[in-house]
């Protein structure tokens, strides 16, 4: 990992304008599957259904496109698999990526930064809020056991972690966070059906709105979050799929100690890129 700009980072050989690749450069081949609410019974219906699928493919910019599989599901729906040639170009120079605004620090650096700038332990309160009971993600960040080979925040000598577990109501979380003098509140939201996670994050922000100056840093995470949405949801930072504890710890130091860690000279420089859709590998 390094701090260079995109163009350089991707190497000289990488052209800026690319297309999807099936088995030859530039062939543009893409696979798509979807269901349309149309029947697939008699010849008439099948013709209409496949025509509808091809219309959608064309609107998606796939031309030519072939319906390679169509299957009626009950009397009202048809499932399609389509392969086609995407007419769109991908311009790598226009790719929107949010940059990681902080350096990745080692454990000792994090502890030292906290000690030197706060002079006390950094207090983190974590929870799954509302009806979400998926604690594995937040536990991966907080518990000593950690995730992906990195120890969780509990492991840091200079952090005090209070993990409230699942199904915590926002008012209870606010009360507890203030009582603990939390520097940061970490909340996980895994269920996304009907945008439950967005509602959850907004609820969190609203809950802490009245806390004024005592409002801790609000950090939200979960596998289906778009990290660029923090502002919109009223929280300070969002972490996505594959986040590691070290990333979170480094961020906390950056946000709460004014980047003392980076000032310590070690670690990786700020300004490298963070993922738009999550923090790591698939």
């Amino acid at each position: 990992m390094n701090g260079t700009a995109i163009g350089a980072g991707t190497g000289a050989a990488q052209p800026a304008i690319i297309r999807p690749y099936g088995d030859t450069t530039g062939d543009g081949r893409v696979q798509v599957s979807f269901t349309l609410p149309v029947p697939f019974g008699n010849e008439e219906e099948r013709a209409l259904a496949e025509g509808a699928a091809l219309q959608l493919a064309a609107k998606m910019g796939l031309e030519p496109a072939l319906v390679v599989h169509a299957k009626g599901m009950g009397a009202r729906f048809t499932f399609f698999v389509v392969y086609g040639t995407a007419r769109h170009l991908v311009d790598l120079s226009q790719v929107v990526i949010t940059r990681r605004e902080y350096p990745l620090l080692s454990g000792p650096e994090i502890n030292m930064a906290i000690r030197s700038s706060l002079g006390r332990k950094l207090v983190v309160v974590g929870a799954c809020i509302g009806t979400d009971a998926h604690t594995v993600g937040i536990d991966a960040i907080l518990n000593v056991k950690g995730h992906a080979g990195e120890k969780g925040l509990e492991y840091y000598r200079e952090m005090r972690v209070v993990n409230l577990g699942a199904q915590v109501e926002v008012p209870d979380l606010v009360a507890r966070a203030l009582a603990e003098h939390a520097d940061a509140v970490l909340v996980s939201q895994v269920v996304t059906q009907r945008d439950a996670h967005l509602a959850g994050a907004r609820g969190l922000a609203r809950g802490f709105a009245s806390a004024g100056a005592r409002r801790p840093l609000l950090v939200v995470g979960g596998p289906r979050f778009d990290p660029t949405m923090a502002g919109e949801l009223g929280v300070d930072r969002i972490f996505g799929r594959g986040t590691t504890p070290g990333e979170v710890a480094s961020y906390l130091v950056h946000a709460l100690t004014g980047g003392a860690g980076a000032a310590a000279g070690a670690g990786e420089p700020a300004g490298t890129t963070t993922l738009t859709v999550g923090g790591g590998a698939a």
Partner: protein, 540 residues
């Protein structure tokens, strides 16, 4: 009653030692006995509300708070619940000249009723009235059970394994066509997942609902709507399609009662799921589950336990024996509550990390072990969830191997995995593809199990025997320290749940010596459920 006769223990493909098998069963009984004692000597708000639901009290106030909650809360406020809700209620009913329980509850909600424990004479009348009301309630449940048998006779019993599919739109009116579509594509059992919040509600919502997150509320009306829709499709297909819902949670006994009244066929009902995955108080859960299971036994409902969930938070290899231990405990509690073998849908799962070498052989060992330990139980086998990623192709493949393991080890109920498990609640097409997957496996390899013969001393046999001895060791520890302590220590699902923590402990009440529960005389005593239903258990 619980100690298994060693002579009936299966030899099977794994050559399990019958003495070892009866030893673990014995240990489970010893570990469970103190918990049964706890349940016998306590009641809960939900148990008492369930009594009222069995007596037919439905409905809610304008805010949606059910009358059963109002009534039980009023009684508790007035005279406590340690004698049960029945005596004060039926006494007040008679005394106030109410036309029925709902009217009484409405007055109680309005603070117009003062409940008291009746004296001996009036108590006798109240007791009789309550018992009569419950008799009518159980007669209705018995009718629904008979109705099930008739429906099965009129349609047909699908062959094992039964294909179990989930619907989870949050809207009962979207769930219904999806469930019917799934049935037409081959589902034998439809489970309606509940909204994420419901199990923590200390009341059962009312009416048909269209708002739920990642699931639909369990209500009597939703039960009835879905059961009717599945009856239609059962007749259309000439195959009885079963309906499942979830009892575990703060209202386990009440939901059990509603399930019996609306002819659900199976219910998720685990002795520990609520404790571990919903942070419900352990004592509350154990008391509730016993009464709920007694109702299931009467209603001819098959229970499904939740051991599969442990493997989402614990490692499926390291914690394999915790699944077996929990199944033995669930079996003990279930039989004690009157459930027959054919009603024990014990749960287990295919959750080993697919990166682990020989993972499929390990899965076969685990699944075959469970099959042989519980030969007459309709085992419910759960598909991979934890290691399902966004790679939908890999997911489709893993689900196929799950289906294959199910078939090779003769599992009874296969919950069908979705290739998009790691992404979203199932799309219509996910479910359709999942059914194509299992249909292929059943058609192509349904008879493979005849060729599955782990050799003596081979990998599969050794692994199964290892898990069994680990189970014995853990059970011995649990007998020593007590089940509540073991749970507090994070034995199951690496989640610590202290006996006094979690939600709902304030709903637990120690029974007074004169505690009266008019349902109990219908529910306790030997052989309650055996032989009532045409369904027979056994190895698939």
């Amino acid at each position: 009653m619980m100690a298994a006769d060693p002579s009936t223990a299966p030899a099977g493909k794994l050559r399990l030692d019958p003495a070892m098998v009866s030893r673990v069963r014995d240990l489970a009984a010893r570990a469970g006995q103190p918990i049964v004692e706890l349940a016998r000597t306590h009641t809960t708000v939900s148990v008492e509300r369930a009594v009222l639901r069995l007596a037919g009290l439905d409905g809610a106030d304008r805010e949606g708070m059910p009358w059963v909650n109002h009534l039980v809360d009023s009684v508790r406020d007035s005279c406590g619940l340690e004698h049960g809700v029945a005596l004060p209620v039926w006494d007040a009913l008679a005394g106030g000249g109410y036309p029925g329980l709902a009217a009484l509850a409405a007055d109680a909600a309005a603070g117009k009723v003062k409940f008291a424990l009746p004296g001996a004479d009036r108590a006798r009348a109240a007791r009789a009235a309550a018992t009569a009301a419950l008799a009518r309630g159980f007669a209705a449940i018995d009718d629904r059970r008979a109705e099930r048998d008739a429906m099965i006779a009129q349609t047909s019993e699908p062959p094992r394994p039964w294909i179990y599919l989930i619907v989870a739109t949050g809207d009962i009116y979207e769930d219904i066509p999806q469930a019917q579509a799934a049935a037409r594509e081959g589902a034998d059992i439809i489970a309606v997942i509940r909204s994420t919040g419901q199990s923590l509600l200390d009341y059962v919502p009312e009416g048909a609902t269209r708002e739920g997150y990642a699931g639909t509320y369990a209500t009597r009306e939703n039960f009835a709507l879905m059961r009717a829709a599945l009856d239609d499709v059962s007749r259309e297909l000439g195959r009885y399609v079963r309906l499942t819902n979830y009892a575990s949670g703060l209202c386990m006994p009440e939901i059990a009662a509603l399930a019996g009244r609306e002819r659900l066929d199976m219910m998720l009902n685990d002795c520990m799921y609520g404790i571990i995955f919903r942070d419900i108080n352990p004592q509350r859960t154990f008391i509730d589950q016993r009464f709920a299971r007694q109702i299931h036994a009467r209603a001819g409902i098959v229970i499904n336990t939740g051991e599969d969930n442990y493997l989402t938070t614990a490692d499926a290899v390291d914690a394999a024996h915790t699944v077996v231990v929990s199944e033995l405990l669930n079996e003990y509690f279930a039989k004690e509550a009157g459930l027959a073998d054919w009603q024990l849908g014990l749960g287990h799962a295919f959750e080993i990390n697919p990166q682990v070498p020989d993972s499929f052989l390990l899965e076969l060992a685990h699944a075959q072990l469970v099959r042989e330990l519980f030969p007459a139980a309709p085992l419910k086998y759960m598909p991979p969830t934890k290691h399902m990623t966004g790679n939908v192709f890999a997911g489709y493949l893993l689900d196929a191997f799950f289906n294959l393991a199910g078939v090779m080890t003769g599992q009874s109920i296969l919950l069908i995995g979705m290739m998009t498990e790691g992404i979203h609640t199932p799309f219509l097409s996910d479910r359709d593809l999942a059914l194509e997957n299992v249909r292929y496996v059943l058609r192509a390899a349904g008879r493979l199990s005849e060729n599955f013969a782990p050799p003596p001393g081979g990998f599969v046999e050794r692994r199964a025997q290892q898990v069994l001895s680990e189970s014995a060791a853990l059970l011995t520890e649990i007998v020593d320290q007590g089940l509540l302590t073991a749970i507090a220590d994070g034995t199951f699902g690496v989640t610590r749940r202290p006996a006094d923590g979690g939600r709902g402990l304030d709903g637990v009440i120690e029974r007074a010596p004169e505690y009266f529960n008019p349902a109990s005389e219908f529910l306790e005593g030997a052989g309650t459920s055996a032989g009532l239903s045409g369904v027979t258990g056994g190895v698939a």
